[in-house]
Chain length 315, copies 4
């Protein structure tokens, strides 16, 4: 167990649902600020370590962010096989950039985040997350709107990673979970490029967003898979959706993955290797069943609606 | 979202760690009682559904218990291939029995639980969990001590399932996580039998118990694997350890699994099928690394020590 | 400190304001029920003892209810001097009746409560509160609407005690905090009768309801005083408003009060005697100032609006 | 209600008892620091305003600190009648100094606080509390130990105010609640001087500390009274003990008090005037009864023992 507990019983409560609160005891608050886009907090929690919290939602903690970021970045890169250009939409902490830079094939990583305050605070207070990624000569940081950036990009990227906070209605990332957005992503990708989207909880009570995102990406890309990773901070298994114009291998050979990673990356990896990838890529039956049964897709006219405080869309 | 919220703001707080509390809002309390062994509560939570809580630890909820119970029972049965006799140690709610009975090869399921009060309360208040399993003619319920029961059993079981609450020091299941106990299990198994143990969180901050249980089972069985399932109620990925004298296939073929399940079980399954099994059986790299690095095993002289309120063993 | 703490961390959270939650750990829940009028809970808390909670608001606890009930009943009785007939509107637990019956001059106590379920549950589960008051031959229990009962009463009562739960908008007691209601009370009183109203928090952040109730009673009665008692369960000093057609002594002589109580009551009293009464009757300066500055009164057209969850009227 | 609520659900939980938590939602944290003596936090709460919290205990809030500080300072000054020299032991926020300076008879106020960090932080962040009191030419701030300061003081003070945080065992104020300490105070006072001590909760479940402090002061001073004030932040009525060698008037005449305050102070007062003082000085019957029945006093050999987290002495 970590160091002596605070006498001040200081907690952040996150509503996972209106009936489920995950509360984390804090050791200190490093930053708390209302930016132009969202309410930002960087805090040190007793067990989870240092964390970025946006609009009350825990984005990542030093203790288990690798469980989120390695599975976000590498399956798409492995699928594509030799990523040279990577576009990251969102990704404030810099950990997504950090992972992309592990590929020695990568020549350019552009990260587009709307909130300069968040990025600056993460640079200063969360070096454990970015680990110098913003200083890498291959990295380019753009403060701006993802949609506008995509407007000026075509046939340019091997990998696009949509690493956005959940689409809370009053939050900044609302439109970036719609068919129109994914179509812009496809245009910006090279023909053999690959899109991956952080795609919400796949807990059985809360998988509606994920399931509809899968269908929405299916309306744009020929080949789509859902996969998931356990991230304790989110109190739920967490889902990703990958879309590609190339067929995606459902049973990636562990040995082949290990050889590719050894050859094309510098590592190191905590969770990812060939065997882990094979496991990640097997979505459980009830998730596959729910995707098969879903009909709704998200569009600008019918976007996802989350209202924070755990009140999301019902199934 | 579920029906109208209570005006009475009634919550059960579970300490995942001293700094992490997972709190669930209740709709009603059905049973609350101090038994001879533990404090039992059966409650209806707003989102998680009806739940069994022992000594303040959430054992299972109707909303996501399938994520715990199907992976607990079926991988061992699939590995063994034709289970006829199944011994369940613990398993109060009856959901483990329910799963075992899905195998049409099964002729006898004995469930040994120390706490008659818990079993009776679950029979009455949690029919969604046992689904009549206690009335099946193949089921035999024994109220008693698992260690004593094992003393009188030898070469008898195809499958033994250790479905015990976590080893809180003042709780009833303390000794049932030691080498001596697993040796008794091995004697009670047939030579081609298989043991499976519910084996605690595999969240990166809390995997010490699991890792040592894996090593402890390794000190008794020739072939041992760890695997895990996402169970949101536990706010962490949940681990199991399987031990056998037969080699355990690390990459079970999905098609073969599906055929076996179709032939030998009545189903239905929510999470389990061939593809899900392949995914479950791939422990992530950091867990494999931790197991490889671990040296301690649990014995009666050096048992696991958990003190409830989230204060477990440190790594 | 009381007996061993529950392993189940079971709490009721009461919102004192949207930013202030007073949470009480429970030992057991005795009753939880949605009645026709409100949500009722009777629980045993670790330190506060057995409690009645309506719509999530703590009404009274065995540990400190005397701090609420003795000051509710006796100042009006002492002022009137020889109460024979007492009408209690509300008063579910029976503790208000219990106090009224301590006057040996009292010949008849009628308690009118709208919710038979609450009264029955309190009779069964809270004997510490009513202490047999419902069985006293002088007591008459009427289940019904206070306003309707008052319609049929004129010039009948020495004392009327308005012991109603706070006027939450969706709750049952909404209209009973208006000028029209207090006018009905005055008609039902004898000319030298006295009305007393439980009248909400007088904490500096939350005294708006009390202040306006004082003014509302002033619009009906010639002589009106506010007084208050410390009740820890309410996390605030608690206010009462007394109205009379007779002049109310601001500095009641302690010796005279003690002689009156000795002669006309059976006691015993925990908080009340002559010196306590003198103290209770001195409203603090900031409360007197706020009353002097207030202009709004509550009417059926402009009633108080509280929405539960601590969201009351702003000043 | 105050401005828009934070999206980050940030709370400080104060344990009033092990079963009673008073939680306050924060708008911001201004300071959080472990000093040489205690853990200090200055925060802005949603309703209570800006607050000083030491070792997790709420010391005072801008919203209701006047309910604590005016009754702390003025009754002793009124009793003494013409305070010229005032010694304050503790009193970090500066609000006690502020009140003492309202007496135009006062020529010298010395405040002795052990924790320079707390005083500096209050100076900077809580101007609403001190209101410039530290800059008044009559004020002298001493950073040091109260016991040592008293060692060098004899027959010097008209008023001594003991404004210390509760005697948590690991806290800094432990010895300052004993007979030996109060004897030092008496020596430091002039013959007609008056001591007043902040003396803990007088809620019925928690009044043991107060009752014993009263007895302890009685073992040193000839004339001793307990009195109390409602302070919502403390979730309980709050007690003070006054000790003097002169007889203390139990029923101070309101008019005489008002005349004295008008003549000898600059004001303004929020709660205090003649009528309020008369009310404050009437301790309720159950408190007088408990004091009469108490036999234990606190000495250096048998000091009060509080362990924080609401675990105090049992009755």
């Amino acid at each position: 167990m970590p160091g002596a507990k605070l006498n001040t019983d200081l907690w952040i409560n996150e509503y996972i649902s209106p009936y489920d609160i995950y509360a984390h005891g804090l050791v200190r608050i490093l930053v708390q600020k209302q930016t132009a886009f969202q309410e930002m907090c960087i805090a040190e929690a007793g067990v989870q370590g240092k964390a970025l919290i946006l609009d009350g939602k825990w984005q990542s903690c030093t203790r288990d962010e690798f469980l989120y970021h390695e599975p976000l970045v590498h399956p798409a890169c492995i699928h594509q096989g030799m990523p040279q250009s990577v576009l990251i939409l969102g990704g404030g902490e810099g950990a997504t950039v950090r992972e992309a830079l592990k590929w020695n094939t990568v020549q350019r990583v552009v990260m587009v985040d709307i909130d300069a305050n968040v990025v600056e605070a993460c640079k200063e207070h969360l070096p454990e997350m970015h680990q110098g990624a913003f200083e890498d000569p291959r990295t380019e940081l753009v403060i701006g709107d993802a949609l506008e950036y995509l407007d000026n990009s075509e046939n340019e990227w091997d990998i696009i990673i949509s690493d956005l906070s959940d689409p809370i209605e009053e939050g900044p990332s609302f439109k970036l979970f719609t068919k129109e957005y994914f179509e812009q992503c496809r245009r910006a990708l090279k023909p053999d490029g690959c899109l991956v989207v952080q795609a919400g909880s796949v807990g059985p009570a809360e998988m509606a967003l994920h399931v509809r995102l899968n269908k929405t990406v299916q309306s744009v890309f020929e080949h789509v898979v859902s996969y998931s990773s356990h991230v304790p901070t989110y109190a739920a298994p967490w889902g990703y959706v990958m879309g590609s114009n190339q067929s995606i291998e459902p049973y990636p050979d562990p040995g082949a993955t290990d050889r590719l990673l050894k050859e094309k990356t510098t590592g190191p990896f905590k969770i990812l290797d060939g065997r882990t990838l094979l496991g990640l890529m097997q979505p459980p039956k009830h998730l596959r069943d729910a995707i098969a049964a879903e009909t709704r897709i998200y569009t600008l006219k019918d976007p996802p609606k989350f209202f924070g405080k755990g009140v999301g869309e019902s199934r």
